[in-house]
Assembly symmetry: C2
Homo-oligomer: 405 residues x 2
């Protein structure tokens, strides 16, 4: 990370300080995350105020002298700040290593890349699992409901604390795409280029429905205890697992499920006439559910799904999403995937139409793939090319070195 | 119902006999269902044998002298035998009154219509809530897993018991459509005409996935008690409700949800920044869940979803669905709906292709509608016309009176 003078009210904590105990216990062998603590209050859309809060984040690459090469990555619902480093707890590769790294489309040899855990999350940033300063206990459902705009508000404070006035680019998919859109709306003058991927101007009724199923599954789990599971030494694992299984189906396409699993059986020659995971697709979904509960907080899942449900740019702007972007000077590149049925291309088109109506500079790329909504997290060469090409053009316009054409 | 001499091993029980107590308690004011009890064993695909079993059914119209005007209706996952009469417990109209009744496309003035609750169901027919004769307790998970072919096997016994050699038509949608297909395969010589609606030759991996989510939601409910909830005086209402909510989203189309609800709020002017059902679509889904648990048995839900998962005509016939239909003399009419994403038109086309490959007499109708999978249960004039027209043509070929052209 570049040397930065941190402003008053922003207090960086070294990862080692936070993780000393874990490292001592041998649970993690690498620093997990940077932390920035803020003592200046954050006022939320709901009117609630967080007086003492923090953001967990990671950076990759170096901030240049002009501080003009910073790229902010916005993560999706169950993502975190570990976009391009091995996850300190799960040991898995960063969730965007396909796209972010030296020589990659978001090239850490050229750009200073920041990725922070969202407000309401569970990976270092203040959320429902954090301690409520007024009680000394985890907030649980006393944590205020946050919005996408609140997440962006918090990120803007982090970016300020890092001494960056204007981001070269903001990039993200799904819930991350919503944040990118909100950055362009709330802080348009601080964003040179924006890439909202697999998103829309608002969350659709069907998607609200799927989220509500997940929330009800969590709340139906008696171990959820009205959100106070931590005090009871419990976790609503079964409910959260069901929520994840249902959601996961929406992240992949029917075609991909058919290609990967079809009706193939799991480690058996014929069906068992029972309720075991006879089919590979069942086994796969159960695995998605059971591994998720080890890395994600159930209350955070409630809060972040709610933030997505509430997202509606038109509602923020007299019923017209186009009004959200009036006067935007940001260069936009909107990306969708043909087999994404959670945020289908039609949703991305609503973004493009709103930007067009605001006379914005916008390009639109629909990527042909059978990988569904999660395509933005997977190895998809034409997607990589689109991101690389757009950023290169924007870098040239920004006067950043772009290397060979 | 026509006067019939019932064969040995089939014993009709009057509805009044069964419902006397309920009627005395004033819970129902009409007879609820006919029952046929069978003492001759039923051997299932799994190899298990039901030695003492029964079918709950309803009939409408009159069987003609030649016994050539019988139409069997096959219900979907959560349907029952009350296709065209007020439901004795819920008081709601029959689930297919749009299609079945005097003068309706399935005209009870012309046809003798039979609808029976499926094996494994919870509305009179033997299922997991029935008493296991070997223990005197409800079967629970000791009930053998049944298949679509088992359901049809049981229905065939009912049809025989009613003295009918050949059905004029077999009609059904979704799981009912699977049964129609299986009728054509298992008892093709007893089916003059067949209408599989919104079905396919096998259950898709995505649909298996959604079913598995529902099953896991039920089994995650501590009140499920390994399927022995009845003995404990409990019911896994929360889990079953979540299962129903998730499934219900798949029964409707995104367009219909957008048209009916959009992002409209439920009885409020602005969001509450909380986890109440702020949006109408949430309230609607919660209602779907909470009303379902009052009329459906959770274990039956496990069994019937499993039967659908196992359905695969190709697997039954050396990997070729077409082989299932070789030599079929039945007249087929396959129907799909443009906005059905659970059983999309492509699935119906697999049926049509298999029938074509078997040189069957088949017509195919894709109905333009935004109502999704459930369109077959809703008022959809072009669907009604298609069913009416096909049955009229088949009736003419069968030598049945068809009235004015």
């Amino acid at each position: 990370m570049a040397e930065t003078a941190f402003p008053a009210g922003a207090d960086p904590i070294t990862n080692r300080e936070r993780d000393n105990e874990r490292i001592r216990r041998g649970e993690v062998d690498t620093p997990s995350s940077l932390l920035m603590r803020f003592s200046e209050p954050l006022t939320l859309d709901s009117g609630a105020v967080l007086s003492d809060w923090q953001i967990g984040y990671q950076t990759y690459g170096r901030l240049n002298e002009a501080k003009s090469n910073a790229v902010l990555l916005c993560h999706a619902l169950t993502g975190d700040q570990h976009a391009a480093n091995r996850h300190p707890l799960t040991g898995r590769a960063g969730w965007w290593e396909t796209l972010v790294g030296p020589g990659r489309p978001i090239d850490t040899d050229r750009y200073f890349v920041i990725c922070s855990n969202v407000l309401g999350g569970c990976s270092g940033t203040t959320g429902p699992a954090s301690l409520d300063p007024s009680t000394g206990e985890p907030y649980g459902l006393d944590f205020p409901v946050v919005t996408i705009a609140d997440m962006v508000r918090a990120q803007a404070r982090l970016v300020e604390a890092l001494g960056i006035e204007t981001l070269f680019a903001v990039v993200g998919g799904s819930m991350g795409g919503m944040q990118v859109l909100q950055w362009g709306v709330s802080y348009g003058d601080r964003v040179f280029a924006a890439l909202p991927i697999a998103a829309g101007t608002r969350h659709s009724p069907q998607n609200i429905g799927f989220h509500e199923v997940g929330r009800q599954a969590i709340m139906a789990d008696p171990d959820w205890r009205g959100g106070r599971y931590e005090a009871a030494g419990l976790r609503p694992k079964k409910g959260l697992s069901v929520a994840r299984m249902a959601a996961h189906i929406t992240y992949v396409s029917e075609a991909a499920l058919a290609r990967k699993f079809g009706r193939a059986l799991q480690d058996r020659d014929m069906v068992t006439y029972g309720f075991d995971a006879d089919f590979q697709v069942e086994s796969y979904l159960r695995h998605q559910g059971s591994t998720f509960v080890d890395r994600f907080d159930a209350n955070s899942y409630l809060y972040l799904t709610r933030a997505m449900d509430y997202f509606d740019l038109a509602l923020q702007h007299d019923g017209m999403a186009a009004n959200a972007f009036l006067g935007t000077m940001t260069r936009w590149c909107v990306i969708s995937f043909t087999s994404d049925w959670l945020f289908p291309t039609a949703e991305s088109r609503t973004v493009v139409h709103a930007l067009n109506a605001a006379a914005a500079e916008v390009s639109f790329v629909e990527i042909e793939t059978d990988k569904g909504h999660d395509a933005f997290l997977l190895d998809e060469p034409s997607f990589d090319s689109a991101v690389r090409g757009f950023l290169k053009g924007a870098a040239r316009a920004r006067g950043l070195p772009v290397g060979a054409p």
